[in-house]
Subunit: 324 residues, 2 copies
C-alpha cells in the first residue's frame, strides 16, 4: 500500500496518548499508551514514533512515505507557529519544543498542530456529527468540561489561541463555587465530573443517601442511584442537567451555532441526556430564526486522530463573505 | 463638493432614528428624529430621505451623488439578503421590506445593512476605540445590555444572524430572575437599567433608603446615592459591577478577544466603571497568553452612523488563515 494518502496522527492527552494512521477520514489503525506526563515529552514522542513505524510496516508502507504528521496537544496550542503554550504542569519540556523541527528530523514529515479539543471538533466536523454544518459548538462533559467552536466555517481560535476552548469556564452561577481556573461559579465548577463528590457531600440528605461513603462517584453511579430512587443522587443529577442546559443556552446566545455536539463521559449512561438538554434549549433559548440541532458526538474515541489528519485538508466549507 | 466619497447613513433605533453623512470616517452632518416605531417604516424612511437630501444640499451635493446608503436596524438583520428578520413589535412592515429595492427606487443608491449593535462595533473598530484590534467584544450597558463581536478580523454573524449579539442573555445566575427573553438569570435580567428599580425595591434596607419612593432610578441616581452613603444604593451598585465583571470574564473565555469596548449609559456617571471591571477580569479571567484591554467606547453617539458607512469599505484586516 502506498502511504502517500495516509496521515500519521498523535493525540497527546492528559492521561493517555493516542496515535494512529488515517486515510480519507478512515482510521486504519490506532493505539494508546499512558501519557507519562511527568517525564520528558521528547522521550515520550520517541516511543510513539517507533510504534507508528511498526503500524506503517503492517500496512506495507513507511512513516516517511506518509503525507504528514498531525498532532494534537492539551493546553493552549499556537497552531501557526506550531508550539505548545501552556501545559498545566504536564510535559514541562513541551513549552517551546520545536515540534516541526523534531518531526522533520525524526520522520521527514511535515507537522501540523492543534489544541486537542479543537482537533476533536475538527474530526467530528469533517467526518462525524458535525458534517454539513458551518457553525458548531462542541461540549465535552467529563471530569472537566471542554468546548470548541466552528464559526462560519472556521475553527474559532483567537489571538491567544483560547477562542472557543474555555466554555467550561463561563460563569453560570454568580457567587458560586471556586473553580480550578481561579474564577467562581464556572460551568465546570458547578456541574462536572470532578465536582460530583462535593455536590453529593453537600446535599442535605447526604447522610441517608446510598452514595454516602462511596469512594468514586461518577455520572454512571449518580444516574444508577438516582434511578433507584435515591433523593440525593436524583437532586444532584437534576442540578447538573439544569446547569448544562443553561450552558447550552449561553453558548447559543454567544456563538449562534446551527448545531451543538455533546460528548464526553456523561454520554456513557442510560439517561437520555440529549432529551433533557433539548428541552432546556427549547424552553430558554432565544432562537427567533431557527432551532439549533443538539446531537451526540459520533467518534468519542477517534475524533482527535481524525481531526489531526484533517489539519492537512483544505477547508471544504468556505466562510461567507460578510462585508464585501 | 463632490458626493462620490460621501456615504448616506441611517441608524434605525428603538426610540430614535439617527441619520447623517460620513466621509472617510468623519461625520459631516448628523441629526435624529423620534422613531415612530408604531407607524409605517416606509413613511418614516420617506421623511429621513427628505432630510438627507437637505443635508446633501448644504454640502453642495445631492443624495444621488453619494457612494451608497448604509443602514442599521434593531432586531436581527440578514446582512446578505438585506432584510430585517425580527422587530420585536417595532415597524411591523420592516419584516421582508425590500430595503435594496426601496433604496434604488427612492435614491438610486446601493444599500448595505447591518444589525445596529454590530454596526456600532464596526464603527468603533474602523474609526474609534477598536482601531488596530482584530478580536473585539463590545458591551453596551444601558436599559438593556447589547453585545457585538469582531472575531479574527470579521464581524461575528452566524447562520441566524444573531452571532455575538445576544451576550446580554448569557445565563450568569442560574435560577435567578426571569428575563424578557424568556430565560432565567440572564446578564441583562441580573444587572441592567431596566432591572435597577426591582433590585432596589427587593433590597433588605429599601425601606430606609434615600431611593425609596423615587420614580426613575437609573445608573446616575444609583451612583449618586451610593456616593452619599446609602446602603441600598451602594449594595445594588456593587452587585451590578460584580455581575458585569463576571460577564466580561465569560466573554473572554468564550471569544478570546484582545480588547473589550464598554459603552452605554452606564459610562455617563462619575464612578470609574472600567477600573472595577479591569480588577474583576484581572482576578477571575484565565488569560495565560496575554491580558485583555478594557477600554471605553470612543463614539457613544456616532458609532452607528460611522459603522453604517464602513459597510462600504473592504475589510482592511484580513482574517488569518487558520488551516491552510
Amino acid at each position: 500500500m502506498s502511504g502517500h494518502d495516509v496521515l500519521a496522527t498523535i493525540d497527546l492527552g492528559g492521561t493517555r496518548t493516542k496515535f494512529g494512521l488515517v486515510r480519507d477520514g478512515e482510521l486504519l489503525a490506532a493505539a494508546a499508551v499512558a501519557a507519562n506526563a511527568q517525564g520528558s515529552l521528547e522521550a515520550h514522542l520517541y516511543k510513539i514514533v517507533e510504534q507508528l513505524r511498526v503500524m506503517c510496516a503492517r500496512f506495507g508502507t513507511t512513516l516517511e512515505e506518509c503525507r504528514g504528521l498531525g498532532l494534537l496537544s492539551t493546553g493552549l496550542v499556537n497552531n501557526r507557529a506550531m508550539r505548545v503554550l501552556t501545559t498545566n504542569g504536564k510535559y514541562d519540556d513541551a513549552i517551546n519544543f520545536d515540534f516541526p523541527g523534531w518531526a522533520r528530523a525524526r520522520t521527514g514529515l511535515e507537522l501540523r498542530m492543534e489544541n486537542d479539543a479543537r482537533g476533536a471538533l475538527i474530526g467530528e466536523w469533517r467526518f462525524g456529527a458535525g458534517r454539513g454544518a458551518n457553525n458548531i459548538v462542541m461540549v465535552t462533559i467529563g471530569t472537566g468540561i471542554g468546548t470548541a467552536v466552528i464559526s462560519e466555517g472556521r475553527p474559532l481560535t483567537g489571538p491567544h489561541f483560547s477562542g472557543g476552548n474555555l466554555g467550561g469556564h463561563i460563569i453560570i452561577n454568580s457567587g458560586g463555587r471556586r473553580c480550578t481556573c481561579g474564577a467562581v461559579g464556572c460551568l465546570e465548577s458547578e456541574a462536572s465530573g470532578w465536582v460530583l463528590p462535593l455536590l453529593v457531600k453537600e446535599h442535605a440528605s447526604h447522610g441517608e443517601s446510598s452514595l454516602n461513603g462511596m469512594e468514586a462517584i461518577g455520572f454512571t453511579e449518580l444516574v444508577a442511584h438516582a434511578a433507584d430512587g435515591d433523593t440525593c443522587a436524583a437532586d444532584v443529577w437534576a442540578h447538573c442537567l439544569r446547569i448544562w442546559g443553561e450552558a447550552l443556552v449561553s453558548f447559543i446566545h454567544c456563538f449562534d451555532p446551527e448545531r451543538i455536539i455533546v460528548g464526553g463521559g456523561v454520554m456513557n449512561n442510560p439517561h437520555p441526556v440529549l432529551h433533557d438538554l433539548r428541552k432546556s434549549v427549547a424552553n430558554l433559548a432565544w432562537t427567533a430564526e431557527g432551532q439549533v440541532e443538539i446531537v451526540q458526538a459520533q467518534h468519542p474515541d477517534e475524533a482527535g486522530l481524525l481531526g489531526a489528519s484533517a489539519l492537512f485538508y483544505a477547508p471544504t466549507i468556505k466562510p461567507g463573505l460578510i462585508h464585501p
